[in-house]
Subunit: 250 residues, 2 copies
């Protein structure tokens, strides 16, 4: 888990971005994942101005810095990482999968500033941009379509950086009904099955076990146990009194 | 790692999406991460038609199915998961963080169909939509801005599903120069430092060790060792022959 000073040490650097919507989307993902530092290098014409005037992620965009060169945008960073969809062209740089690269970036953010570069929508990072990078990061996209939308690529990279591999697995688990509740429901269901004629009136050992297993497989939430017991009790009562109205408040 | 039949078992279900760009972005992320099945429920007016006519991710959009109800879109799925930004409203459903929920979804995809629901940009999933869900998934966004762009949320969820926690850490590592090469460079650098007057001509023990450590800390790539040796050799030669042209092809 990254802490606020670490989040603040990452610069997201958008190089030669053409579409203001993409600058806005990058800023929104940064805001979603708590990264405040956006640097924009030579955006196309008015893209940066347009993005700034759009709604959402206002704080990230308002504090974004515009640069004329990659060198200026990454000047304070001791690790510079480029992103690429291509897998073979840039053999001059080590190429890391996002899962692996993010681990290294997180480690560096503990003490140092890191820049993460995203190239233009059409051409990606140029060889000149890449010469500023220590290594390259690739998102593990499918071979059939390796090229991601810029805003989505930023979102995925930042998510991987803040992702918590130790997030508790039990979070939000439903408390299940206790064995005694389950058994009461099982008995009432068996009663309903007998009364309905689904089972023969003489419930032999094997059928009882089948019903018990059937109910156990439901993984009944504790909060629903009373409800299910009431349902089967009502069914049994109605089966036994076909001519009468149901009793009040059963 | 999900295999193609597993990728095919996930339905991405967009409910009441308003913006055709978001349908297109969702389809593009699906294509990037290899998920072919898109279901669209009650999109706003012409959003689906417009999205289909846009470029990119054509295959996913062309085969997308349009439904009038969530029930119809998820009919063949044995696990239905809703996505939400909200953390407290929907306590009727278990709420899982993406890292944890994706693990469960991957497990189910081994044998069964799973639906992953995304609500409208403005309102998310309605209580009626949610009643079809077994549990809810939330992306671990920052408290300050929990609401993600739809296309980015789809991209992040699908990335988490295909992400490989065992991706090799050493992939793309640069082979480093061997000790003998490093030592030749060290000697040549020391020579250059002496010739330039940076160090006293008599290089005492301590300085030699400092230079050795200095060069070791560079982690010199093997492919660059010859280049560095050549550079220092040239510098030494030039320092010793200030009046002469550099020798050809040193």
């Amino acid at each position: 888990m990254l802490k606020p000073p670490e989040l603040d040490r990452l610069s997201v650097v958008l190089v030669s971005t053409r579409n203001p919507l993409n600058i806005g989307a990058a800023a929104r993902a940064m805001s979603n994942f708590g990264f405040p530092r956006l640097q924009v290098v030579s955006p196309y014409e008015s893209a940066f101005r347009e993005a700034r005037s759009a709604v959402g992620a206002a704080a990230v965009l308002a504090s974004a810095a515009q640069h004329d060169s990659v060198a200026s945008a990454v000047a304070h960073c001791s690790l510079v990482v480029g992103t690429t969809a291509v897998r073979t062209r840039n053999l001059r740089h080590p190429l890391r999968r996002l899962e692996d690269g993010a681990r290294l970036i997180r480690g560096r953010l503990r003490t140092s500033r890191v820049a993460l570069l995203f190239g233009s929508e059409k051409f990606g990072l140029s060889n000149d941009d890449l010469s500023h990078c220590h290594w390259l990061l690739r998102i593990p996209t499918s071979e059939e379509n390796i090229s991601m939308n810029l805003g989505q690529a930023v979102a995925v990279c930042l998510y991987e950086l803040i992702r918590d591999s130790k997030a508790p697995a039990a979070a939000g688990k439903t408390p299940l009904a206790a064995a005694a509740e389950i058994e009461r429901i099982t008995q009432m269901l068996a009663e309903a099955l007998r009364e309905s004629g689904f089972l023969d009136r003489r419930l032999v050992g094997d059928s009882a076990q089948r019903i018990r297993r059937l109910v156990r497989r439901l993984n009944l939430p504790r909060q629903d146990a009373v409800m299910w017991l009431g349902i089967f009790r009502q069914i049994v009562w109605s089966l036994r009194h076909p001519e009468r109205q149901p009793p009040p408040g059963n």
